[in-house]
């Protein structure tokens, strides 16, 4: 309900509503954008990227559909798109239009605000050692490509792919074992 009220206020041009949203979600947006742009952009660029997310919300509030997810989830998805596009711009690749930002049913970030039924999975995830855990997150939560992950983490692209391949197999095995135990 709060999201819908905020949306209504945004649509009516209530800047105070945007202020409240910025106050509540800047850290979340920073965490998403700051993970993707790590080692690829300056702090000023990350700050600008975070600002752009809220500016886009302000300019096009109708893009947020409360029926499809929470504002928090929408902002996380928007932050990911903005940051990935900025990364692509910095590396010279073609950008995906922000208009394509949506909430696909399979998207991992949709689960960002859901905390139920996660203990089993995180027990499995905790079994991964760093940097495998971070690589897994970057690939499957942030949607970064192996090349981008390599850049952020200062590792070889081939190493990223190999670690992903092994981690996915390991996760499957661990989950199967945990599910049998429970």
């Amino acid at each position: 309900m709060r999201d819908e009220q905020l949306l209504k206020r945004l649509k009516s041009g209530d800047y105070q509503a945007l202020d409240e949203i910025v106050e509540s979600y800047t850290r979340l947006v920073w965490n998403v954008a700051g993970s993707i742009l790590k080692n690829a952009a300056s702090r000023e660029d990350i700050e600008e990227c975070v600002a752009d997310v809220f500016v886009l919300l302000w300019r096009r509030p109708e893009k947020f559909k409360p029926s499809r997810g929470t504002l928090k989830t929408y902002l996380a998805l928007l932050a990911r798109s903005c940051a990935l596009n900025r990364f692509r711009a910095l590396s010279g690749s073609a950008a995906v239009p922000l208009e394509e930002t949506a909430c696909p049913a399979e998207d991992v970030l949709l689960g960002l605000v859901r905390r139920e039924e996660s203990s089993l999975l995180f027990s499995a995830l905790d079994a991964l050692r760093e940097p495998d855990r971070e690589i897994f997150y970057r690939r499957h939560v942030l949607g970064q490509k192996p090349n981008a992950i390599a850049r952020c983490m200062g590792l070889e692209k081939r190493e990223i792919s190999n670690r992903l391949y092994r981690s996915r197999g390991r996760m499957k095995t661990i989950l199967q074992t945990l599910e049998v135990e429970t």
Partner: protein
């Protein structure tokens, strides 16, 4: 796997804070000020960055006309290059052997491999004065002039990798990768410029070393038509270079691409399935639903089939 991944994100917020650049004190205030400034602009639209002046300089460098003779490398680099580019690409490596010296530090560009989109440059740096200024951790404030990442050169050394070090002759061997240039690289003149040598043991050696050389124009992309339909789309063409396969097609539902990027497997001629091997999905400006899947760092001859979104396509 998808269900697992959905669940994975539940605590992602906290986890991401560990992987992100820490948010500085004062950042929130600056972000708020930036938002205020941008939202007060009368003209609405997508937020765009200004074209940085250095990109104009980059274009100018590309237009330079300097001759560079391609010769064979003095050292057999094959054992070093194979792990990076694959076995067969080593045959396409072009010798350069052009040098630059400053303060007794000798830069030699030994070899380059390139296709139309990527270039890998292999080079050495030797301390001819034997002052111990080079070690296996040496790095640069690196600039590749026709590279879009130039404005962020302080981070550029992430892309210069040490692949060998000889303490006896105080020489380190490196490679760097040029990519993301919006024009075909074949035959282009490029300039490798390295600045300010840094390492763990001695103070930064201030200076600039630069070498200009021409990329190989003989490596062309070949393509063939596949035209294989699957539920929800079609795979139309396949493009190949010595180290890359690119598959192009269309999906009926463009939004499906947003979540379909990870479901790609390669099947080698030996029947081995390689999951998630450097596959990237991009959405080119060729109409809604079009996709390109690029498989980098592979040898097309070793590849028998590709499985995309559950559908297997035999390659020619």
């Amino acid at each position: 796997m998808k269900k697992m991944l959905e669940r994975l994100a539940a605590d992602a917020d906290e986890t991401l804070s560990a992987y992100a650049v820490p948010m500085e004190e004062g950042a929130q205030g600056r972000i708020k000020a930036m938002i205020q400034e941008k939202t007060q602009r009368k003209k609405a639209g997508t937020v765009r960055r200004r074209l940085r002046p250095v990109l104009i300089a980059a274009a100018a460098v590309l237009l330079l006309s300097v001759s560079a003779a391609a010769v064979n490398t003095a050292v057999d680099l094959t054992p070093l290059i194979e792990p990076i580019l694959g076995e067969k690409a080593a045959a396409y490596v072009q010798g350069i052997q052009k040098t630059s010296i400053h303060d007794g530090l000798l830069l030699e560009v030994e070899a380059v491999y390139n296709d139309e989109e990527n270039a890998y440059v292999f080079f050495t740096l030797t301390d001819t004065l034997a002052k111990g200024r080079i070690d296996e951790n040496s790095a640069f404030d690196e600039r590749f002039f026709n590279r879009v990442m130039v404005p962020y050169a302080t981070y550029g050394h992430n892309d210069v990798r040490v692949i060998g070090y000889d303490a006896e002759i105080q020489q380190a061997r490196f490679y760097t990768n040029l990519y993301g240039v919006h024009e075909k690289l074949g035959g282009k003149l490029v300039k490798l410029e390295l600045s300010d040598l840094v390492n763990d043991t001695v103070e930064t050696v201030k200076g600039t070393w630069s070498v200009t050389f021409r990329l190989n124009s003989n490596i062309k992309t070949t393509s063939y038509t596949l035209d294989e339909a699957f539920e929800g789309g079609i795979v139309e063409t396949v493009e190949e270079t010595p180290t890359r396969v690119r598959i192009k097609g269309y999906m009926d539902e463009p939004q499906a691409l947003l979540s379909a990027g990870h479901d790609c497997s390669l099947i080698t001629a030996a029947g081995e399935e390689m999951d998630d091997l450097d596959s990237t999905v991009s959405v080119p400006n060729e109409g809604p639903g079009s996709f390109e899947i690029t498989l980098d760092g592979i040898i097309p001859e070793d590849l028998a089939a590709v499985r995309l979104w559950g559908h297997e396509f035999t390659l020619k």
